[in-house]
Symmetry: C2
Subunit: 567 residues, 2 copies
């Protein structure tokens, strides 16, 4: 082993080895002339080159991959200037939503970076640092391979930042460094997340404070889980907490499936004024809310309509804690949570016996659906899909209608729910589905990957279905087609004929179905050959043009005006 | 009129009026929730909302539009964060290639920009200036509508910068300012380019220097026109110069069609070592090269293989002049050129009588084509297309094979040639074709819009054909399909089956033709119903997998190795 550590490895292969060590098996991207690393990827035994249709789709796919491949990261490789800038919206989304992705950019040689000739893919004015400056805005840290001596430590630094921060990082790899040999010794030491240690005295003090508040609140404690529970890897710690305390637990939209939705102490989605009235009452009347991994964006809070008070809230975050009004910087939940569970579980609080309204899919009974017994209403669709979803399925919803609809769709245990509620980039879900399906296959999940998107969102990134086909993936793609009109209004000036054409083409390409009625949808979902998803399948779901999911209708009622996200 | 000047107009409409005044009739983009200006566009009598499939395509289209709509600019409207970042690669390309485009971004209200809530499309950390900082890297100037008092002057400032610099600019428009009324008085004064004035003494000095050099060079003067001749609007001044002096004139690839290619004193394309040997000899042996609007990027100079010396070169640029080794900052060619023509035309230099090899399309004679009489070789294709092109056609070539091939394709007078040789972003040409075709229609050009691209490039932005169809445009789309293999090698790891699928789909959608042989291609090009382009048409041109255009083959011969841009 000592001898082996003295061996050398090319810088490009060192990077791939590090990616492989942290679980990366699929590398997304588009080749380019400064991207010599592609050759190494092809030869790598553990990493597949995915080869996307374009760079934005590749970044979306890397994001979707990271969300499903827990404990690993997404990786995307693009070329200097043209490629990396095409991907930047996808990278920014990963930053916004706390998704660990490494963006590797093949750049001109170190000599060219010094001499700055007017190469293609440059801005023509010698500014070779312009793209880095753009990347600094949307990535957690940035690294540049330049000196051979520091290459390994630079790679290790940015990848450690990536897994520690759960945010995207940026790394440039010059053409003349890809094949340069360096010692491989560092590879013997695996990379690990490197969060700062909690200060013991501060931690003890905060735990006392929290314990006191819980005791004072008695039976009226609720736990609210959110995005960063998943993104900062505390789902197991939270599961331990809620099982051992028995406190009622609710989820914000971005925390959906952080807690198994069929868990007896789980009450459903809290989203401010858009919540079910019963959930709203339970959460907002609690004497204490233990908020875990909260990300209080507009769409994640019913447009900032939380009626919880800081006076009755404890917030646990990845890098700080807040107990009522007091802030504890640097006190992270990963280390705090097990100690909190240890403190709270013996309390035998009456909260553990408080009733929790079950979160179950409820199909409208005959006569209950305002749209009648035939039309596939949102009122029917989401609960019906809820019954269709199996454990270990991955469910991807596009921003807008589908992510609102999903709030009415309880999911079985071990389902992974993926959406982009804060960043909200339309077209994201199509690319993310590719990455999610690859990660699910690599994890050996027994379920299927289900995409819910709209005809309007589809056109932004539609070509990426072909990549899924090429890699033998078998997602089921539900395209919600509200007869063209709603999306058209949303997209201003798009006429129906065009939408028809687009729909026709993609339904021609794939094994596809169009369902117009509840009974057609029901029959399709019951069909085992469909449900087992042995090939890629597209389902066009024809819906009423004015219909919208219940949380959107609720928002419309509340605000007295049409919400333009209803599209 | 005095009364009318006192009238008010909404800020959004003020912006649209300014765009309309400078000739914008098509506004590209994708709507978003912060993009209230879309409503105003729909109501505007002179500006059409194009409604692209995604933002990158929209930016490419705006770029293509600006290149064809001489004297006007391209305009693209996107939404905060997600939309603008998706477009940024297209904007950067416009910067690199000196194309005037205004990128208008609908952003949150001024109150939200001050309070910085965690809105969707934000990075979640309150940095509302992150996207501006990214835009600063790739735009000439940036403006933000904030105060009502300064809105008009801010709009005027960035648009004046756009038309003066021939570069993209960035303008944010908050939701709460779109409908705010301001005085419309400023609209009575049209916006004009505002280049700095040349210093008269410096100009006189430089003109003397140039005149002396021309006199000394006698019969061995050549003019070399390049990109910025077109982009900085001196084609008329140059036309005057070359007509009145009769000096032989050549063009760099990026200057193609700056001078009519059937002009008797025009000798073709000079691209360093990739040039025809006769052209190379004429240019490199000249005693003086008058270089106009040069942009000496790698692909524009045969990978920096100019064998011309600074000692025998005069360079005229938009914002500086260089006479041999001496730099004259601030001395711009727009004002200098007419005076130079005035100085030089009476010289009656022997250069005016020097022979110029004609630049003509030469089809391989029977037995001359190494690939035989049947296969559609590059040796045959480009000269044959040359015969097909008509005056007032717009010819768009994708980076790579097609833009190399176009060097072997003389074009008739009044043809507009559009390519992206410096920035070189694959997929650009498809989006640019949409914009180019719209601009051509608005200009009333009698020709057609012809796209030359490859099957690999096509997949990046293919959905934008649907926008062209929706707007009743009738481009002819030549898809060079070298049997899948070359592009696959270029794109690493793409298997043939997938490419077949993509091709099949798009040929199904459009009125389409596949040609396998020279005679099939020839018959199609001779077919008047095809050539008159009354509907959108797609031609799949099946070519040999190892074939490449002559300039690429020449480069391979020179360098003794396969150039990977051959794909």
């Amino acid at each position: 082993m000592a001898h082996e550590s003295q061996d050398t490895i090319s810088i490009g292969d060192y990077l791939l080895e590090r990616l492989s060590q942290i679980g990366v098996q699929s590398l997304f991207g588009v080749p380019g002339d400064f991207n010599l690393a592609c050759d190494l990827v092809e030869d790598h035994p553990n990493i597949d080159w995915i080869g996307n249709c374009n760079e934005l789709n590749a970044a979306y796919a890397a994001d979707g991959y990271a969300r499903v491949k827990h404990g690993s990261i997404g990786a995307v490789l693009t070329t200097f200037g043209v490629g990396e800038l095409s991907a930047i919206n996808g990278i920014a989304g990963a930053f916004s939503e706390h998704v660990p992705v490494v963006h590797i950019v093949g750049v001109p040689s170190t000599e060219q970076q010094t001499d700055k000739p007017m190469l293609h893919h440059t801005l023509g004015d010698g500014r070779y640092d312009a793209y880095l400056k753009a990347a600094q805005q949307v990535t957690w840290s940035q690294g540049a391979i330049f000196s051979t001596n520091t290459a390994a430590s630079e790679i290790d630094r940015v990848l450690t930042d990536c897994i520690t921060s759960a945010r995207p990082v940026y790394l440039t790899l010059p053409t003349d460094r890809v094949f340069t040999k360096i010692p491989r010794g560092k590879l013997d030491t695996p990379l690990l997340p490197h969060p700062p240690k909690n200060d013991p005295d501060t931690e003890e003090f905060a735990l006392n404070e929290i314990q006191t508040l819980v005791e004072q609140a008695g039976s009226e404690v609720v736990i609210l889980v959110d995005a960063c529970t998943i993104r900062h890897d505390v789902t197991e710690e939270v599961w331990e907490l809620i099982q051992r305390t028995g406190f009622p637990v609710y989820s914000a939209p971005m925390g959906k499936t952080a807690v198994p939705e069929d868990f007896e102490r789980y009450g459903g989605i809290y989203v401010g004024s858009l919540s079910h009235p019963e959930i709203k009452e339970k959460v907002e009347n609690a004497k204490l809310v233990l908020s875990i991994g909260g990300l209080r964006s507009d769409f994640n809070t019913g447009n900032f309509t939380y009626r919880t008070s800081r006076a009755t809230t404890v917030e646990l975050h990845s890098d700080h804690t807040r107990v009522r009004y007091a802030l504890y910087p640097g006190l992270g939940m990963k280390q705090l949570l097990p100690k909190l569970t240890h403190r709270l579980h013996p309390l035998n609080s009456p909260a553990s016996a408080a009733s929790v309204p079950p979160f179950r899919a409820i199909l409208p009974k005959t006569g209950e659906d305002p749209l009648g017994e035939e039309v596939i209403s949102h009122l029917y669709f989401w609960p019906r899909i809820s019954q269709f979803v199996r454990p270990e399925d991955v469910v991807v919803t596009e921003t807008g209608t589908s992510s609102f609809g999903a709030l009415e769709m309880p999911l079985p245990a071990k389902t992974i729910y993926v959406s982009q509620i804060l960043w909200g980039s339309i077209g994201w879900a199509t690319g993310a589905t590719l990455g999610a399906a690859l990660a699910a296959r690599e994890r050996g999940l027994k379920g299927r990957t289900l995409l819910f998107t709209g005809e309007g969102s589809l056109q932004l990134t539609v070509q990426e279905f072909s990549t899924a086909m090429r890699h033998g993936l078998t997602p089921i793609l539900f395209i919600l087609n509200n007869r063209g009109y709603t999306i058209e209004r949303h997209l201003h000036g798009m006429d129906r004929k065009y939408n028809d054409v687009v729909n026709w083409k993609w339904t021609q390409l794939l094994d596809s179905y169009t369902v117009h009625t509840k009974s057609e949808l029901d029959a399709l979902l019951k069909d085992e050959s469909f449900a087992n998803a042995t090939g890629i399948q597209l389902v066009e779901v024809v819906m009423d043009k004015y219909d919208a999911p219940v949380p959107l209708l609720r928002q419309t009622e509340l605000s007295g005006q049409t919400n333009h996200y209803a599209a």
